[in-house]
């Protein structure tokens, strides 16, 4: 058996390891499109805040892939040709596969704002981006962060810890709009402002122009201009579909991402996809979703690999889950935190102490989403309660009285305790 894996991020690496665990003799080739050791994007903020060095971002120890007899190949997979079971590599060679996995991740997207293609403007997605940001984000330098989404907020902390003067511009009406509701977003904002970060919501960048030799002028729609030594663009990511744009690869079914079934298989036989590149069913609605988060990527990588090596496995569906630590304020959100039709909810808010808990129940009395700000511990049970789909029974009323009893509710309803 000959397996090819395009993309050596968390999804591709977990898939390679899972394949090897179940198939000792197969050829497994893992294609890494960046000229870097196999690394973890998630570790980049900690590299920027100098908590780790570059080596600390490596996803696996050196020698790991040799030990597993996985061939790590530093080549891009340019085109997948499902009709011939072949791929074309960046050096022009063709390789055949019996089964292959597309795990090419996502790439950052920029809004159509003139001037984003000049020196001093960077995304924060790759190690190369991180090096470029580190070179300009020096103590005292003026940094503008465009986009206060999940990734923006993660690097926000790293930038502050580097000692820069930070201004955050967000087009929507609050911070992390896809992860936090208005209450939680406002808490995060007041927290950041108290730490000296300037936050401007409802603020769209209109154009970026050079200012003097080194600096930039960031023009906003309202007419405000922010001078910057560095502009970091974190305005979202989109699945990296390059390998399926041409030839017979272009026949693979895509929506916002590469569409897969519950076995992580694409519309072509023997071609699977996992991680940020793919669009998989949401765990609750069943509709296609691209959440672009690490836990989903690794779980999909594992499920894809099991199916590739003949061990039927189904993915229970993608569950959005995020945790953010912004200068000491921990926020988490899970699932459909904005609620579902006919459902019920409870909110407990203590803005003064930056504490908040919101739980959303569906009409069948199950937890479907949650937001927590400053929750002390056991946050994982929110996932457990949501994903187990356990009916809460009497615990729904108890949680409405005292939402903080989530861990008890979990032990009682899921872990068979109470």
């Amino acid at each position: 058996m000959r397996y090819l894996i395009a993309g050596a991020g968390p999804a591709g690496v977990v898939a390679a390891e899972t394949l090897r665990r179940h198939d000792h003799s197969a050829t497994i080739r893992l294609f890494c499109g960046e000229q870097e050791p196999v690394y973890s994007r998630m570790a980049i903020p900690y590299l920027l805040s100098n908590k780790i060095d570059e080596r600390g971002t490596w996803l696996r120890e050196p020698g790991h892939f040799e030990t597993l007899a996985v061939d790590l190949v530093h080549q891009r997979v340019e085109t997948v040709e499902p009709d011939h079971h072949t791929v074309v590599l960046s050096d022009g060679r063709r390789e055949t596969y019996d089964r292959m996995l597309i795990a090419t991740g996502a790439r950052p997207v920029s809004p159509p704002v003139p001037g984003l293609d000049q020196p001093g403007v960077h995304h924060c997605w790759t190690l190369a981006d991180a090096r470029a940001i580190a070179a300009r984000a020096r103590p005292g330098s003026r940094v503008v962060l465009m986009g206060a989404g999940f990734i923006g907020c993660i690097i926000l902390e790293a930038l502050v810890l580097r000692g820069v003067r930070l201004t955050v511009l967000e087009a929507e009406d609050r911070m992390v709009p896809r992860m936090l509701d208005a209450t939680a977003g406002a808490m995060l904002r007041s927290w950041c402002e108290a730490k000296g970060v300037a936050i401007h919501t409802d603020t769209r960048v209109q154009a970026v122009e050079p200012m003097g030799a080194e600096a930039l002028a960031v023009h906003c729609e309202q007419g405000t201009v922010f001078p910057a030594d560095l502009l970091v663009v974190a305005t979202g990511v989109a699945p990296n579909l390059d390998p399926v744009r041409n030839g017979s690869g272009a026949t693979l079914r895509t929506g916002r991402g590469l569409q897969v079934d519950s076995r992580q298989q694409t519309s072509a036989p023997d071609v699977y996809a996992a991680g940020d590149v793919c669009e998989a069913a949401d765990w609750y609605t069943g509709e296609g979703a691209v959440y672009a988060i690490q836990p989903v990527a690794v779980e999909q990588g594992r499920i894809a690999a099991l199916n590739m090596c003949g061990r039927p496995a189904r993915y229970a569906g993608a569950l959005p889950m995020n945790v953010l630590d912004t200068l000491g304020l921990v926020t988490v959100s899970f699932g459909h935190w904005s609620g579902v039709a006919g459902g019920d909810s409870v909110r407990q808010s203590d803005p003064e102490h930056h504490r908040y808990l919101r739980l959303e129940f569906d009409p069948q009395g199950r937890l479907v989403g949650a937001i927590a700000v400053g929750l002390p511990g056991h946050v994982g049970v929110l996932r457990g309660l949501i994903q187990s789909g356990a009916p809460l029974g009497p615990w729904q009323a108890r949680l409405k009285q005292a939402p903080g009893r989530i861990a008890e509710a979990y032990v009682a309803r899921v872990a068979g305790g109470g």
Partner: protein, 159 residues
Amino acid sequence: MLKALSILPDKCTGCMQCELACSYEHEGVFNPARSRIRVFHFHDEARYVPYTCTQCAEAWCQTACPVEAIQVNPATGAKEVLDNLCVGCKVCTIACPFGTVNYNQATGKVIKCDLCGGDPACARYCPTGAITYVDADLTAYERMRTWAARTDTQAQATA
């Protein structure tokens, strides 16, 4: 054979010795808030349930970690947090559906049950036998595994 914690809630009297022992073993203080095992008290049913990590075979915390900071101790099978590698990103705390990985603000790292290297303090100090450290194939442990399966996207995969 690997050993595992067996927890029999029916035998638990809620004395909290396990929480104190755990916190002392790991943190050097008697502070239940710093314990890695927790005893839940269900007032309505007058019932106590000790609860901690089940060291699941395909551990979500371990696979989700971006920097390989959670590794298996081959001697005990425990999934241990390697403090020198952990960057404190907390993704394991939300990936674990059992809520048994927790963030420690003081150290900037996460903490979880590590079976105390093979001699778990909670079991040692439990006076009633509600928590014991036994061969991993005993039924109580299997039952804990079944709980795991109910939440699981992964256990289904191994079925």
